[in-house]
Amino acid sequence: MKKKSNKPKSITENGEREAPFRLLLAVLLSALAAGLGYAVLSLPSPPPGLSSHVAANLETSGVSNPVTAVLLNFRGYDTLLELGVLLLALLGVWSLGVAPEHHEPPPGPVLDMLTRLLAPLLILVAGYLLWVGAHAPGGAFQAGSVLAAAGVLLLLTGWRPGAGFSGLPLRITLAAGLGVFVVVGVVLMLLGGRLLEYPPSFAGALILLIEAAATLSIGTTLAALFLGGRPEAGPRR
C-alpha cells in the first residue's frame, strides 16, 4: 500500500497500473512470500498446540466435538464477539440504504420448482447440522449458513418477508444469537460464576440453546445481507 501512494498515478486503459510498477511490486511481494515461507519452514517441528489441553477438558465441556467445544465453550467469548461482528455488518449494510428493487424477471418454473423442493430440505439439513455439531463436524455456523442458503433461494425466487415480519420480529430474530449468548453469559455471572462459565452438568444444554439461537440468527442475517439493504418500511409491492 505504501508503494501505491508513492507511485505516480497512471492507469492503463483496463484500469490497471502500469507495467514497471507491477513488476517491481511483484518482485517485492515474491520476496515477502519467500521470507514468510522461510519463517514457516523454520518453525519448531513438533507443533506445540493446545490439543492436549482441549482433550483433557473435553469431558466437562458439554460436547464431544473438540471444534465445537473450542468455539462455544473454551473460546466462546470469541464467538460471542463474532456474532456481534455479524450483526454489526448487517447494521452497516442497513445504514447504507434500502434494499434495491428486485428487478429481475420472475424465476422460471425450474428454479421455482427447485426452490420449493430445496428450501425445506435445506432447513432440515440445517437442523441436522446443528444437532450433530455436538459430537461430529457441524454446528451453528454451518447450520446457519445452510439456513441462509435456503433463504437466499427464496429471495431469488422473489419471496420477501411480510410486512408483519420485517419490523421488530425480524430484528429480534437477527439479534437472537448474540442476545441469547449475552444473556446466558450474564445470568451465569449473576449466579456466581464468571462470564460464560457453564456448570458442567448444564454445559451441553446451554451450548445447544446458544447454538440454536445462533443458527437462526446467522441464517437470517446472512440472507438479509444478501438482500443488500434494509427492508422497505412502506407497504410491500
Partner: protein, 478 residues
C-alpha cells in the same frame, strides 16, 4: 461482591445497548445515553477495583489461559478505558443534537458496538481475541463513516474498510506464526516463552505492519485524512481520538510484553517515521483549505508523537506517550466537535470564509482555542504534561533530537490553531446564512476542551493510575 467484575460489564453493557438500540430504534437516544452512563460507571468501578486490588486477570468461562481467553486490566488498559469513557460520554451528548432522526437510528447501535469493541480490545489479554475486537472495531468505524453519505464519505469509508481489513489480515498472519511457535495466544504466556527466531521476526514484522497501517503512521497514513475529514463530526472525533489509538495500544502492549528485547533498531525506525509524521502532518495541516481536513492532518502529526517514545524506552517516555494519547484524545474530540459546530452553523468549513461563522460561536471558538492549546502543548494542559515528560525522557536518554521534533511539532500546531482562531477577531459584518447550533453541541465541545486543560492541572492522578500493575515496569525500566 467477588463475582462482580466491572470490566466484564463494561464489555457486555455496550453490546446489550447496541442490541436494544437496534431493536427499538425509535428509543435509540435514551437507550444509548443510559448505556453510556452505565459504561462510565463501570469504568469508574473498574478504576476503583484496580486501585484497591492492583492489576486484575479474569478467565472468561473459567478456563484460563492457554485454553480459554483471559481478560487483563492494569493501569495501561484502565487509562485507555477512561479516555474512551470520557470521549464516549462527550460524543454521546454531542450526538443528540447532531444527527437527525433517521441517522440516529443507525448511529446509536453502531456507536455502541464501537464502544463495546474498544472496551473489549483494551481488556483483552489474548492476541486472537484482539483480532476479533479489531474487526468489530473496524467494521463499526467504517459504517459510522459511511453514515455521512455523499461521495466523499462513501469513498472514504470504502478505502478505510479495505485498509482496515488488510491491516487485520497482516495482524492475523502474525498471530498464526506466534501461535505455532509457542502454542498459545495469551500475551502473558507468550511473554514467558518468547525467544528470537525467524518466525518470530516475521510475526513481529507482520503484526507491526498491520497495526501501523491501522494506526496510520507515516507513510501508511494516506487513508486517514480523507476518511476522518469526511465522516460526521462526532464520528471524526471518535476515529481520531480512539479508533486509531486502539491499534497503537495493541502495538504498545505487544512491544512491551512480547516483542524480542533486541528490537532497538525497530524502535529507532518507528521514531523516525513518527518524527516524519509530526513534521509532514503539521506542514500538510497548514496547507489545507478545509477545516476538517486540517484537523485530520493534525491527527497524522499527533500520532507521530506517540512513536517518539519507542527509542527512549524509559518509564518517563512511555508515560509521556500515553499521556499524549490521552490528552490528544480529549482535545481532538473537542476540536472535531467545534469544527462540527462550525459546519452545522455555517454549512461549510472553508477556512478562508470562516470569519463570519466563527464570530457568532464564541463558545465553540473558545473550545477550539483551549483544545488547541493542549494540542500545541502550552501549559496548563494535558498536552503540555505529555510534552514535558517526553522532552525529559529524550534529554535524559541523551537523544535530544527527538525533543527537537516535539518542539517543532508544537510550533506547527500553534501555527494552524492561531490561523483558525485568528478569524474570531476580524471585523467582518457580512450577513450570513446560518442554522442555530443546539446548546448541547456547543457545551459538550467546551466541556471536552476543559477536560483537556484540567488534565494539565491534575496530572498526578492519571499518572498514578497508569502505574497500576507496572505496565512499563518490566522491559521499560530505566
Amino acid at each position: 461482591m467477588p463475582w462482580l467484575h466491572w470490566g466484564v460489564i463494561a464489555i457486555v453493557l455496550p453490546l446489550a445497548g447496541a442490541m436494544s438500540c437496534f431493536l427499538w430504534p425509535r428509543r435509540a437516544i435514551p437507550l444509548g445515553l443510559v448505556t453510556a452512563l452505565g459504561i462510565v460507571t463501570c469504568v469508574a468501578g473498574l478504576g476503583w477495583q484496580l486501585v484497591e486490588q492492583g492489576a486484575q486477570r479474569y478467565a472468561v468461562g473459567g478456563w484460563g489461559a492457554p485454553l480459554g481467553i483471559d481478560l487483563y486490566a492494569d493501569g495501561l488498559s484502565l487509562l485507555m478505558l477512561m479516555a474512551t469513557a470520557a470521549v464516549g460520554l462527550g460524543v454521546s451528548i454531542y450526538s443528540i443534537g447532531y444527527f437527525n432522526r433517521e441517522k440516529a437510528r443507525y448511529f446509536w447501535p453502531l456507536w455502541m458496538f464501537l464502544w463495546a469493541a474498544l472496551n473489549a480490545l483494551f481488556l483483552s489479554a489474548d492476541i486472537f481475541n484482539l483480532y476479533v475486537t479489531l474487526e468489530l472495531l473496524g467494521l463499526a468505524a467504517v459504517a459510522l463513516v459511511a453514515l455521512a453519505g455523499g461521495a466523499e464519505a462513501l469513498t472514504g469509508a470504502m478505502r478505510y474498510l479495505l485498509v482496515s481489513l488488510l491491516g487485520s489480515l497482516f495482524y492475523l498472519l502474525g498471530v498464526a506464526l506466534l501461535y505455532h511457535s509457542f502454542g498459545s495466544v495469551d500475551i502473558a504466556i507468550l511473554a514467558a516463552r518468547v525467544e528470537s527466531s525467524p518466525a518470530v521476526w516475521a510475526a513481529v514484522g507482520l503484526i507491526s505492519a498491520g497495526l501501523l497501517l491501522k494506526t496510520a503512521l507515516f507513510p501508511l497514513h494516506f487513508w486517514l485524512p480523507s476518511t476522518h475529514a469526511s465522516a460526521p463530526a462526532p464520528v471524526s472525533a471518535l476515529l481520531s481520538a480512539l479508533v486509531v489509538k486502539a491499534s497503537f495500544y495493541i502495538l504498545l502492549r505487544l512491544w512491551l510484553e512480547i516483542f524480542p528485547p533486541t528490537s532497538a533498531v525497530l524502535g529507532q525506525l518507528l521514531a523516525l517515521l513518527g518524527a516524519t509524521a509530526v513534521l509532514w502532518g503539521g506542514l500538510q495541516a497548514l496547507r489545507q483549505t478545509r477545516l476538517k481536513m486540517l484537523i485530520a492532518y493534525s491527527t497524522v502529526a499527533q500520532l507521530g508523537y506517540l512513536f517518539l517514545a519507542f527509542p527512549l524506552a524509559s518509564i518517563t517516555g512511555w508515560t509521556g506517550a500515553l499521556y499524549m494519547l490521552l490528552s490528544h484524545a480529549v482535545a481532538k474530540t473537542a476540536i472535531f466537535m467545534a469544527a462540527g459546530n462550525i459546519l452545522y452553523f455555517g454549512g461549510h468549513d472553508r477556512i478562508a470564509d470562516l470569519d463570519r461563522v466563527v464570530q457568532r460561536l464564541p463558545l465553540t471558538v473558545t473550545a477550539f482555542a483551549l483544545a488547541g492549546a493542549s494540542i500545541m502543548g502550552l501549559p496548563p494542559s494535558g498536552g503540555f504534561i505529555a510534552k514535558w515528560l517526553l522532552l525529559e525522557a529524550a534529554i535524559r536518554s541523551g537523544q535530544w533530537w527527538w525533543g527537537g521534533i516535539l518542539i517543532l511539532g508544537g510550533l506547527l500546531s500553534a501555527a494552524w490553531v492561531f490561523k483558525v482562531v485568528g478569524y474570531a477577531f476580524t471585523r467582518s459584518r457580512a450577513p450570513h446564512e446560518s442554522r442555530a447550533v443546539p446548546v448541547g453541541m456547543e457545551w459538550s465541545a467546551l466541556a471536552m476542551s476543559m477536560v483537556a486543560i484540567l488534565l494539565g492541572l491534575f496530572a498526578s492522578w492519571p499518572l498514578a493510575l497508569m502505574e497500576i500493575g507496572l505496565p512499563f515496569g518490566g522491559k521499560g525500566a530505566e
